[in-house]
Structure formats: C-alpha cells, structure tokens
Symmetry: C2
Amino acid sequence: MADAHAPERPLANGQKRIDFQTAPSRYRHWKLAIDGDVATLFMDVDEKAALFQGYDLKLNSYDLGVDIELADAIERLRFEHPQVRVLILRSGKPRVFCAGANIRMLAGASHAHKVNFCKFTNETRNGIEDLSESSGLETICAINGTAAGGGYELALAANYIMLVDDGSSSVALPELPLLAVLPGTGGLTRVADKRKVRRDHADVFCTTEEGVKGKRAVEWRLVDEVVPGSKFEETVVARAREFAARSRRGAAAQGITLAPLSRTFTADGVDYGSLSVEFDRGGRVATIMLRGPTTPPPALADAMAALGSEFWPLKLARELDDAILNIRLNEFDVAAIVFKSAGDPAEVTAYEQFLDANRDHWLVNEIRHLWKRVLKRVDLTSRSLVTLIEPGSCFAGTLAELAFASDRSYMLLGQREGDNKPPATVVLTEANFGPYPMSNGLTRLVSRFLANPADLEAAKAERGKMLDAKAALRLGLVTFAPDDIDWDDEVRVFLEERASFSPDSLTGLEANLRFAGPETMESKIFARLSAWQNWIFQRPNAIGEEGALKRYGTGQQPVFDTRRV
Amino acid sequence: MADAHAPERPLANGQKRIDFQTAPSRYRHWKLAIDGDVATLFMDVDEKAALFQGYDLKLNSYDLGVDIELADAIERLRFEHPQVRVLILRSGKPRVFCAGANIRMLAGASHAHKVNFCKFTNETRNGIEDLSESSGLETICAINGTAAGGGYELALAANYIMLVDDGSSSVALPELPLLAVLPGTGGLTRVADKRKVRRDHADVFCTTEEGVKGKRAVEWRLVDEVVPGSKFEETVVARAREFAARSRRGAAAQGITLAPLSRTFTADGVDYGSLSVEFDRGGRVATIMLRGPTTPPPALADAMAALGSEFWPLKLARELDDAILNIRLNEFDVAAIVFKSAGDPAEVTAYEQFLDANRDHWLVNEIRHLWKRVLKRVDLTSRSLVTLIEPGSCFAGTLAELAFASDRSYMLLGQREGDNKPPATVVLTEANFGPYPMSNGLTRLVSRFLANPADLEAAKAERGKMLDAKAALRLGLVTFAPDDIDWDDEVRVFLEERASFSPDSLTGLEANLRFAGPETMESKIFARLSAWQNWIFQRPNAIGEEGALKRYGTGQQPVFDTRRV
C-alpha cells in the first residue's frame, strides 16, 4: 500500500507544505468573470500545474491544488462581490466539463492525503451550497461536454443543472465500474437526498460507466434541463437573467478586499496577526493561541467595512481556517489540537454586541457565516480537540464555541500561584445560541444538552455574565476544573494519553461522539458516505497491487477478492 | 492480514456451516427462566463451547454462537411467552456481567466474518429494543460485576440499567484504549443518542479502560440506578414488579411453539417448506424462490393460533430469515441475491386481508413485526438484491416489499413464448403503506418516492388491483419491464456485470443508495458507526502484526502508525 509508513509525495512546486492561500491573479485552473450581477467561474485546468509530482491534470481533472483555487473563488464572491446574484459554473474547455479527481493522483496518494483531500473538496462543495443558502446567490451548472465522477459531483453542488443535448454530452458517476471506489465527494448522498433520484435509477446510473444523457437525464432527475447545442448559450443567459431576478441577495453593496494573510512560518510554529500555532512535535500537540482584539469595535458599520479584512472577527476567522487546514494536510503527526486564548473577555463581548447590533448588514452576515463554516471545519478535523481555559483567556461568545467544539475542556479554578491575573471566566452571548449550527443542524450547546433541554435554558439565562470555573462546571459548559496544584499534571497526562492511542480509533470515536442527534445531508456525507469511502480506500480491491486504482490505464484488468463483506 | 484470500476459520463442531437455528434445550450459554410475567435471561457462557476452534470464551465473553442463542431467546419471548411483561438481563457468573466480544475470536476472524458478526449482534440488540417498542415488554439489565465493551453494549439495549455499588462493579467501553477499535455494537451511538451522555463525558468514559462506577455512572447517565450490594436482589425484584405493572403488553394469552425449521441442505441449495435457495456458484448468484400459500387463510384467529408456526406468513418469514443469514455468514462469495416467487397473488392477498382484519390479535402483531425485522435484515444484507417478477409469481403485499427492498427489479412484460401462464402482476396492499418501516423510519415506498409524494398517493390509489408490467412501470414500482425476447439477456448481463464489480465498492454503493431520507439511531449504527468500525478493522493499527488486536495479551505493546487520517 502507498500508505504504509511511506513519506508523503513531493510537491511539484518544491515546497514542503501545501499552501491554502491564493488569489485570482495567481489562479492556474479557474477564471472568475463577473458581468454585473452574474459571475461565471470557468474551469480550465492547466494540466502541467499539478500539486504533486508525477501526473498531469488531463481533461479538467483535479487535485487539491485545483480545489484550493475553487474554494478561494467562492469566498471572494461572498466578500468581494456582494452585487453578484447568480453564479454559473462551466468549463473553459471544449467537449469536456470535468473528468473528476485525477486518478493517478489518487493512486499515488497516501491514505491520509486521500481522506483529507476528499474532506476538503466536500467542504468546498458544501460551501457552494451555503453560498446559495446563506448569501442568496442562485447557482447554475452549465454542462457542455462530459461531467464524470467528481465533475458531476461538482455539478450536484449547484442548485440547477443544465446539460447540452448533443448526442454525446452526459453526466456519469463511473467510479464504481471503473475504479472500484465510490463517488465520495457527496455524489451518492446528493443523488439520493438532494436530487432524490429513485434508488433503482440511482443504482443503474452509478453502475453505468458511460453515464446518462438527453431526456433520460431529466426523467431520472439527474439534471434539470437539457438544451439543444444550438440554443445552449442563449438559454444559459436566459436562465441567469431569470435567476438573478429571483435571487434574495441584496442590491449592490461595495465589497471588501480579502487581503493576503500575513504569516510567518518557523520550524515549530506559525505566526499570524491574531493567532499563533506552536508545534510540540515530540508530544504530537499543536497549540493554537487566539488573541482577543486590541481595539474596541468601531461605532458604525461603515467603519467596519472600511477596515475590511483587518476587522478583528474576520481576520481571526480567516487565520484560524488557514491554521486548521495547515495542520490537517501538512501535519499528519499531530494527535491533538489545544485551543488557548489571550485577551479581555469584555472586549471580545463588545465585538459580539457590535455584530448583533449590525446583524442585517451584509458584511456581518458574511462574517457570521464564515465563522459558522470555520467552526464546522474544526468539528470535522480528525484530531483530538481540547480547550484550555486559563487566567488571561477570553473565551467569550464565538470563541467559547471552540470549547464546545472540543472533545473536552479544562478550566483552571482560581488563580495560578505567583501570577496576579484574575481567575479565568467564560462568557456566553447570543452567538452561542443560534448562528453557528454544526453539520447536524443543531448548535453546539443544543447538541451538548440533548439529554435535558432545561440545561440549555439555564445556560441561556446566564448570557453576558462572567462565569468563573465553578459556575461553568455547574452549568455543564466545561469538563473539568482543576486548580493550580493539579492543572499541569492533569493536562499533561491527558495529552500523553491521547498521543499513545491508535490514531484511527480516535478518528472513529470522535466522528461518532461529536455528532449526536439528527443527521442532515451534510452530516451524511461526512459520516455514512465518507466512512464507507475511507474503508474502500483501505481495501486491496481498490488500492492493492492488483486493485482497480493501481491497474487503471495499464490495460490489465484488476483482480478482486470476490468475498462480499 | 488474516483476511487476504485466507479460508474461513474451522468451526469447533466440525461442521462446514454456521447454523442459526437453536432451541432453549440446546443452549450452552444462556438460561431463560420464566416466573409469571417476569422472564430472566441469565448469561452463563460455557467457555469450552466456542463457535470456532482456537479460543475459549472466558469471563462471559461472546462470539457469534453465543449471540445466536440470545437472538433465539428473544424471538421465543415474543411468540412462545406472550404473558411475559418484563425481561431482566443478567449474568449467571459471579463478579462479571460480560466481558464483551471475545478478543482472540476477533483477532483470528476474517474481515468478512468480523463485519457480519457485528451486523448480526447489532440486529440482535435492535431486536431487544424492538421487543420493548413493539411488544411492550419492559427491559432491565441488572449488572452485578463488570460490564465491559460488548457487555455494556448489551446493557445499553435494555431500557433500564441497574448497577451494583460495591466499589468494584463498573461499566466500561475499553475498546479504544485496549484494542484500538471502537465499541461498534451500537455502543457509541447508544451512549450519544439513546442515553444522551454529554459528549465530553462520553469522551472521558470511552478512553478510560477501567470504566466508571458508583454515583458518577448515574450522574453521567451511563446507568439509571446504583444499588448497594446488600439491597441489589430485592431492588431488582421491586423494579421488575413496578415495570410489570406499567408494561403495555396484553394480559396472558397462550403462546405458540416455534417448531424447528425443516430444511434440507444439498450441495447447491437449501430446501425449506415454503421457500428454496439455489446457488449458482460459478455465477456467484443465490436465487431465493418464495412459494405462496397452498391453503386459504383460516376463517378465525383462533385457528391461526392453532396452526402455530405452520401458519404460512410466519413460516415463510422464519425460513426467509434463516436463508438470508445462511448466505450472509456462510456464502461470502455470493455477489447477488435474486428473489423470485411462485403462487397465486390472490391467495397471498387473502392472507394480507386476514392479517389486516386481525391486526389487534397479539400473534398477528408479532408476525407483522417479525416480517418488519426480516425485511430490515434484507435491506442490510451487503449483496446486490434483485427481484425478478415473472408469470406465475405472487408478489403481493408483504412479498412485494422484496421488490422495493431490491436495488432494482425486472418485471416480464406479457407472456413467455410457449408458456400459457398469464402475464405477471404485482399487487399493493395495506402492508406496503405502513407496517414495515426500514431502519430510516420510512416505509420502502415512501423512501422510493421521496422526490414526489404524489407518486406515493398514485400507488396507494391502486391498492388491491392486479397491476401488470405496464402499470407497475408507470407507477414506478419496478425498474425495467423487458419482454420475453429481451428478458433472458438483460437479466444475464445484469448478473454478470454485478459479479464483475469490486464487492467492496458495491457494499459501499448499496449502503448509501438504499437509505435516502432521515437517519434514526438504528440507521446511524449501521451507517456512521459500522462504516467507521469496518475501516478500523482494515487498518494496520488494529489488525497488523504489530497492531493492538494481534498483540493483546502477549505482553508486547502495539506499534502504531501515528499519522492521523
């Protein structure tokens, strides 16, 4: 197996680290064209610009590098182009829409990369849906050519799919017949639960290598409309106009610029403006220290817009997102992520009040939804998560969500000897009771208190108060509250223990315990679908020397262990 | 890995086949004691009576053989002892309740056996919950000793858990720290979703080898009550009396006897009274032929009770269940199961009408719920399922559910050349619109028609009619309706194709497409939890030569690949 203790594959650009930061001027694979209230995102993959060495990105196939640009473009539509009401996804190449994830890339990737690649691409597709749900953009995918595998899965993220009716263009999920894996970037779930394709039709579709085209694609609900080639362009324009008219997105506001993050990478850490990451590589721990604001919030919303991406809540969200992604894809050996904070809880609370007071401002809406997505990214990060709440910290409102996203939290009771900082406090605000649902559709506190909704009400009643360790423990907001005498030992033992356990079993444990309660399409993608795909990515029938991924394109047929499990 | 093309491990009894049929007189591991309206099921595992060679069942640990007896006892409580209103689960051994699944058994089992063993034990625990939900028995688990791993998971299936408070008895889920696997028999899901344990408490509990005891076990909702040792017996009796008084189960009716199934095994098949199974081993297909009734239903419910387990709907359900389990655990090479039927649809419909007319009779209630469980077992069988509806078949009501449980169905249009049997028909009855929910909580037709509820109403309007292939196709009840000229080729090509695909990817595909719509605790166990466990069961950290399952008990520490995935 490619996986067994092998180093990760070298990056094509010679760097040691996958970088999640980019900007339209640097895109190699996408072109974002904006015309009034309609944005078109053209996929035109540069086959020579693969992320890793060893393969070309033929036929608009993609790897993580391609998807990082897509994710960036979607974020910029939200913040930089608030006047856009319709997004059209289409291909910049003739006769092919997108061939899906690159097979050579998959065949040569470590298991850890494959799994985290899929997770990121899933989050990007969920982000396209969130763009529509939370920002009100209408999304259209215009398929003029073949949309296969991940190509069709990308189309499925749009809310309206148009397919040219030219006798050859089709949609297909050929993963199973061709590669012995699943359409794992949401494909099966969106076919069943979003497009509600009848299950026997879905069975036929997903086992038919060449896919479905024309009228049947509409009858089986795989696309919304087929259009003759001669009328395709004009129909796309007509749909865009129609959908722009019904879009809920507000009238033209001035966007802000998402400035490049300022980061300094050192051997054992990363420094950002409002947070820093420190790696204890021997202990396999990454500590993320979040810093509270250094200035009060502006008095008026216009001043916030003038600050742009320097506005503290936005800056911190972007930096935290980058820090988490860096750990996920570049630091596989990290067993646990520790969240700490430093700052004044009253100042953090002042920002929460500012955001609440301006909740109808488009930029506040975008910032809240960005935090929602970043916090979901935290929930879905397969590392043990722990929040340490110490004197001098500022876990209030949005920042307190990190404690509720953690597998457990420790809050220091009283003061530290020889330190005159007052005892730590936690502050609940409106932010803890609504704007940040998890992928199961519930807030973290609702999920936490499923057993007894009265506990939720009790916590709600304490909004705005500085809660010390005793109060936080009584309200069920933290797991343990050791005093200074026990603190260091308890935390050290916990982190050592975590590093001693099998990483896989922790991944499975946390994936089950973090998401009590209902499931949504989104949570089904990360649970049912991804877990099965990960299993298949470990099975010799896919990844063995005689398996389908390895033999694809060699002319040799794969050899399967025929036992059904 | 134990799995790679190795034969399955030999059975201890020298047989070639795991047998799912047993009876209380033959139990080696359980004692069922009935005292008025209270039944006690004592677990007292005979350590020398393991299912496979090579290990002993120490400390009330279990293998599939132990669980087959448990499943049998639960079924008998339903049919043979309708007067029982309370079930107490407890240990027949001192100081230990149950140590969970036997580790040596797991370490030496093939992946296919491990996965199907877990599936069956999950179904059995779901069956204990269904006993309470559908038959109204109250279930108590009385833990006097240690309930670890699968032992505590068994307790979690009861609705009330009592733990002796003796300073040593505890509940524990030590799978992760001890074995690098998950509490995969529902444990994580029931902790999070049934008992609604707070997620940070659950995290601590599931990573603490020695478990939790005494007051904390109640505070953390892991048990309902702790009782001092001196008062344990009297308190168990008191709770049984209390719960008997509130049980919904009807007053003393006379039970029926579940007679041994009459079966004949041949080299390429199995014959039962009302169905037969034929194996095409080259083609990797098992064909299950279900036979309609040969006599009309009795006029009165009393006559049904007199027929006992010979009553056709009950007989067929039990035989189908045994046939499915035989394929699941003894015939791993079968890629597809084909359902066929032979009989008169009008006679089958007459039985449906009889069951509907007598729906308040306790035995009819039990028969409907047995079919519900058998059909769920079909849904969860990881083989491709196809129903072939041909002239002479009798897919009406309950039997038609098999077509809706299938990944696809073919219905022959018109007659066969040279055959004077009239064209095939399908009949919908009340049975298709309520009594048989899938594990997602929806009926198969509701799941099928999620896209357009009007399709469900259109189907409902046709209840009782003999629907020919054209009508069935129009109503969306079947996938394809080829005529005699195309039939053989279409079916052959489909089955050959199915056998040519990777078995693993089919398992993943079907597990995703069969369950559109909502998730329940039950479906979460088979999706989220089982899929993650299956993944872990493939990972070297658990099953490699240096992995935790292999090294358990050797005195050597496991060696883990530290990369988090």
